[in-house]
């Protein structure tokens, strides 16, 4: 089967971000960027399906500025075959991202589209579901296991009550959760090889989609800070504190 993987370049998940003092957003200049962790699991899932004989071609696509090339190269080094960068310097909303990806799905016609379950910058958790709607395909979000079962996939999903297994006829959309697999670190020869794999760069405007934002972000502010408390010296003192809190709760 042919697999399309959508990957996003975001502020590295280890960076402690800073809200700009003027409230216009989060400081991203001079900050370490990398592939969104959930997207790494999506790429790894595609490569593993390929290794198991289920992935004839793996195409990765990223929407973002020119420098988003670097996450595409990472995915190619992990084992994807071909990359597409849809270039834009604008910060697009998830609906616009999903519409662009729907165009790519129409062109490429993949059997399976893999995405991360959420991007750790906007924390939206939208695009997979929206793409499934726009392409009228069934979806399985928050996947922690994928098995091929004839012309369908059995996908284990992590949900609030535990896990559930959904059978999805292909073509379908799956979003990856963190327990799906352990993403590989590409070995140097693969990194070198990635540079010679095809990577098409196409301006976002070429797709004829209205990319204008629907929501107005008035401001971005830091959350309230917690003040440090005290240290107690024994389990007895801690028990007394907890007992106090519990009786306050019960008084309410």
């Amino acid at each position: 089967m042919k697999i399309l993987v959508a990957i996003k370049r975001v502020v590295d998940h280890n960076v402690r971000i800073r809200v700009r003092p003027d409230g216009t957003g989060v400081e991203t200049s001079g900050v370490r960027m990398s592939m969104n962790p959930f997207c790494k699991h999506a790429v790894e899932a595609a490569v593993q399906l390929g290794e198991a004989g289920h992935g004839d071609e793996i195409v990765v696509v990223s929407i973002g500025p020119k420098v988003a090339n670097d996450v595409i190269l990472t995915a190619l080094a992990m084992g994807a075959h071909r990359g597409i960068l849809i270039e834009t310097d604008a910060e697009l909303e998830t609906l616009a991202i999903a519409k662009l990806l729907a165009k790519v799905v129409a062109e490429e016609n993949p059997d399976l589209v893999l995405l991360g379950k959420q991007a750790v910058d906007d924390d939206s958790n939208h695009v997979g579901q929206m793409l499934a709607a726009l392409t009228d395909r069934p979806q399985a979000t928050f996947a922690s296991a994928i098995t091929v079962n004839g012309a369908a996939l059995d996908v284990t999903r992590e949900v609030d009550t535990g896990t559930e297994v959904v059978s999805l006829p292909l073509p379908a959309i799956v979003t990856a959760d963190l327990r799906l697999n352990t993403p590989r670190n590409a070995a140097l020869p693969m990194v070198m090889k990635a540079r010679s794999k095809p990577l098409a760069v196409r301006p976002a405007a070429e797709f004829g989609i209205d990319l204008a934002s629907r929501l107005v972000v008035e401001k971005v502010s830091p959350p309230a800070e917690r003040v440090a408390g005290k240290t107690v010296g024994s389990a007895g003192e801690l028990a007394a504190y907890i007992a106090g809190e519990v009786s306050q709760m019960e008084a309410l």
Binding site: V11, R16, I17, V26, L95, V120, D121, D122, D123, S124, N125, Q129, M130, A132, A133, P138, Q139, A140, F142, V159, D160, T161, G162, T163, E164, V165, V166, L168, P169, L178, R179, S213, R214, L215, V216, V217, E218, V220, S221, P223, R226, A228, G229, T231, V232, G233, S234, A235, G236, E237, L238, A239, A240, Y241, I242, A243, E245, V246, Q248, M249
Partner: protein, 309 residues
């Protein structure tokens, strides 16, 4: 300006999150509550008691994202707001519904400032975005833990809607964690354990303490990944968001992604052998030491103090 709230339920019981969602959107307009699924009569009866609900709609639905979304879309015409809690069902269904309606959704709302203004966290809660949504329709998910529950005592009429949809996806199995502890997302007290517990067996120390306090049980991703705790106990950016009156974090370092899930906790207690752990730094009360010594002592001391819930 009417509001359609989609109810959350599990095992034939209305989830506590729904009352909070109803309360969160009560200023936006008259609320109809939609109950999807099979055999939901008892759930609808409970839902009808929530203050602020005009009527309860019951529709049969296949419990899959594509199936449920189709049903919701059929109702969408009559409403200005389509709302569900930001639990795993709402997160799965509402962005799909929104895209079908060509609407950009506003999700994970922690504060409703007005009919079109909302606050939502980004970057694992390290920043808060204030957004205005001037679209013709609003598709919203609400972080239930950030709101109080609507009162009960209402007796709204219940209407069953005949409805049939075919879903491409099929739900073939459900595996749930057997536990009689309270709902994590809405619990008053949560006891959380980290990877320091060392095994599933020893994680029962956390469960013992939780039992004593009538608390829900939380875990870090590291503890879940290691197989010490089930995935639905995970608290954080990728797990559940909690806002208890008291959170007791044991053997948990306090990584950014874990802190994302506990920002709403009123009081935080940390038990950790490392006085420099980030969670110790922001706890209201910390006890430094070995959790394997401290928990048994704490259980005894709580008994002595007469704490029982």
């Amino acid at each position: 300006m009417s509001v359609l709230v989609i109810a959350d339920h599990d095992l034939g019981v209305l989830s506590p999150a729904t009352a909070r969602v109803v309360h969160a959107v009560s200023e936006l307009g008259p609320i109809d509550l939609l109950v999807l699924g099979h055999g939901t009569t008892d759930i609808a009866t409970e839902a009808a008691k929530l203050a602020g609900v005009t009527k309860v709609l019951v529709a049969d639905s296949p419990n899959t994202a594509d199936g449920d979304s189709l049903v919701i879309e059929r109702f969408a015409n009559g409403y200005s707001y389509i709302v569900q809690s930001a639990g795993s069902v709402g997160k799965d269904r509402l962005p799909r519904v929104a895209a079908k309606l060509d609407i950009m959704p506003v999700t994970d709302i922690v504060e409703v400032l007005g009919p079109t203004r909302f606050i939502r966290p980004i970057y694992a809660g390290n920043a808060l975005q204030t957004v205005t949504d001037n679209q013709a329709k609003h598709v919203l998910t609400i972080r239930a833990s950030a709101f109080r529950a609507a009162a009960t005592g209402n007796n709204a009429p219940i209407e069953t809607i005949e409805n049939a949809v075919v879903s491409a996806a099929k739900l073939i199995a459900q595996h749930r964690t057997e536990s009689d502890t309270p709902d994590l997302a809405t619990a008053q007290i949560v006891v959380g354990g980290g990877v320091a517990l060392g095994s599933a067996n020893k994680f029962q120390l956390i469960e013992q303490l939780a039992k004593k306090l009538g608390a829900a049980i939380g875990a870090t991703r590291a503890a879940v990944d290691a197989g010490y705790a089930p995935n639905d106990w995970q608290v954080g950016q990728t797990g559940k968001i909690i806002a208890p009156d008291l959170y007791i974090a044991i053997g948990i370092s306090g990584a950014l992604q874990h802190l994302a899930g506990i920002q709403g906790a009123k009081k935080i207690v940390a038990i950790n052998s490392d006085s420099e752990a980030p969670l110790v730094k922001l706890a209201d009360v910390a006890l430094i030491g070995d959790l394997f010594e401290i928990i048994p002592q704490l259980l005894t001391e709580l008994d002595k103090a007469g704490v029982k819930r």
